[in-house]
Symmetry: C2
Amino acid sequence: MSRFRIFYLLGIMLLFLALMMLIASFWSLGEQGPDRMAFLKAILLTAGVGFFLFKLFSGATRKELSLVENFTLVALAWFVAGIFGALPFHYFGLFDGSFIDAYFEAVSGFTTTGATLLDDIENIPRGLLLWRALTQWLGGMGIIVLFLAILPRFGFRSMTMFKAELPGPIAERLVPRVVETARRLWFIYVVLNLSEIILLIICGLDFFDAPTHSFTTMPTGGFSTYTSSIAAFNNPAAEIVFTLFMFLAGANFVLYFRLIRGDFSIHRNPELCFYTAVTALAVILITADIYNLCEGEIFAALRLAAFQVVSIITTTGYATTNFDAWHHFSCVLLLGLMFIGVCGGSNGGAIKQVRVMLMLKFSIRELSNLVHPSAISSIKLGDQNLSEEVLRPIMGFGFLYFALTVFATLILNGLGLDFETSLSAVAATIGNVGPGLAGVGPLHTIPIRSFLPWAELCSPL
Amino acid sequence: MSRFRIFYLLGIMLLFLALMMLIASFWSLGEQGPDRMAFLKAILLTAGVGFFLFKLFSGATRKELSLVENFTLVALAWFVAGIFGALPFHYFGLFDGSFIDAYFEAVSGFTTTGATLLDDIENIPRGLLLWRALTQWLGGMGIIVLFLAILPRFGFRSMTMFKAELPGPIAERLVPRVVETARRLWFIYVVLNLSEIILLIICGLDFFDAPTHSFTTMPTGGFSTYTSSIAAFNNPAAEIVFTLFMFLAGANFVLYFRLIRGDFSIHRNPELCFYTAVTALAVILITADIYNLCEGEIFAALRLAAFQVVSIITTTGYATTNFDAWHHFSCVLLLGLMFIGVCGGSNGGAIKQVRVMLMLKFSIRELSNLVHPSAISSIKLGDQNLSEEVLRPIMGFGFLYFALTVFATLILNGLGLDFETSLSAVAATIGNVGPGLAGVGPLHTIPIRSFLPWAELCSPL
């Protein structure tokens, strides 16, 4: 039975989650935190259910997963990880016993959205804050890429799952063996993580803040251990480090592979150029727009603009200022960036740079075809000619993304939120950004929970 | 020289415009209006320039226009018609001598947008109001379809121009001869117009209001001779007539052809079904939403909802109430309808029902292809299998429509308008609707002029 295989794999995932909770609980044990019992209960339940599934379905056939099984597994994995990941928050009573709120927080973590329901983050035990950061760290590179590095030990392999989890329209064939690829991705992920931790400590962050924030930068997550996010540090040097690493996390990880192999031609990568150009243009426009708000200090304006633009375009969602109070122009530009998102093959969300690029090229070609109907030109990405079979799903994806945004905005409106709040809440969750504008601006706690499922649905895309 | 031919044709158009101004000026002469001299000057200048172009370039070669010539002609025709159509307003001093404002009003008329800069419409001489209504009447069916019925007399013909001007992705071959088709379309247009005038007079409108409003209903224009639009009549029966004729004007005119030929199978037309379903659904949702605002009077709520929904979806832009004061949900739903628009092959604007339908089908196919990659299914419209060559430009069009909306919204924001005003102003002008929400709601005069070129650019699409 194919269902058995999925349950077996979910069992493995839960055992791994329990292991991660155990690591987070060490901090709690070390400082004798009030959250020890919550961790104990959560670990026992997660490991118990995981072990039960693992043992009960261990007789499942070892063979390649089908496409439908893969999609089911990815969807179920996010759902189940959210349920069990919420247990430490729930048992500690973080949301006055509301499991739905704890589930929101966990799913916001695993999907690297970064929207939070907590409004007094400083007073939460540090073990729980570490677990909260770890949910993003795990979710970022994809629970499923992790699966991929471990699965073969148990006799499973899946190329399709890898494609589903590493987003972007064109899966580049990196190294022949998928498992090897997954391991290398994790290697890059961990190296970047450690570099960020070291730089943040040099900038003056302590040994708790540096790793917890690094864990949420690299997956473009955006959870902070402070209610006022990165603004709490009031540390310009650290802000520059954050900006740099958010930008790096938003690039295609395949490029780091190439760098490691000694291939320094990444500046010819068309998506990277587009990503850099869009980011730079947005930073320049916003710097010009907020120049007078910063009392004419050009570097302060530039730093603020760069941080917020990179945070939004990479769908991280950190904030160093209440950008909702900026002029309309900057706000709406940031809202637009929420739809574009990062490069394909990175951790972030939204439509992705390469898709936006190809949608533009596609549309311009159709426009020029109106005038020159006989000339059928193929679309190029760098030196590569793209077939129509690659382009069609991208246009379909783009349309569904807009349609889902409109539909979800209508529902939030119907529930009584104003237009700007609804649209930006949808853009921020569907693109895994986190904070939006107006009622869901960076200074607000998310007021309603009902739009969470969108983030969950879209994250595997 | 190909440019000569275009100028020759523009000359013919100007002569025709002068003729129409002459007709409008009769009203002014009849009531000894203060606008007589303005009309005289405008007619002389328009006819003069027209005759000059007509004579100077009468040596142009008579042969089929090329694709590029057609696009140039269409673009120039809208531009030039706006310039000369603005002259009566300008010479009368309607906007304190601002020619840009007069040009805005004329282009808003010819493109059947219906946005206005006038805030005291009742005090304007009736001759000018009649001319204002006539600009929409002429623009509606397309200055160019008119060209088509006249051109052959001068030795020109063009099928491509017909396709450019009669919007919708699939040009149905109606009758072999294009000229015959154009004449029949005008016949239908005029018959519907006369029917509406008669019904409005029966409902109690006078002999000025009935024709001027009918002239702006059929082209889905929306100019009224009252500042408070249709609400000024306070006449429920007339509102029902307006709702009916706006809906009829939004259907594909090809269907009326079929009806005339005795083909009553139009209920099987997939676009008509989709159009009816979307309209009905929106009316039901909004009726439910505004039920309590109407103090529980279900028929009053239904009439208000139906009028506003049909006015917006057909991109007419009449109003019987300040819908901007409705709940958020209804406002955002109306904003969404502004993007969908009417059926292909009708006078209205926006993306068009058939395109939205096909974009949905396209996207759903791509989604199901993810799970069943081997099954390549073609998309059907009714019984017709559509080729990828038909679908590709539609997806491109949709993307460019959204991209232009975002871009224009950003510019308006940068000029200092708030988000809701900017977005709805763009949606209302790019889709040729007229009034939007917030600062450009049905009770407001359009506050800035800078977004007009969009409407002009998009109208021929």
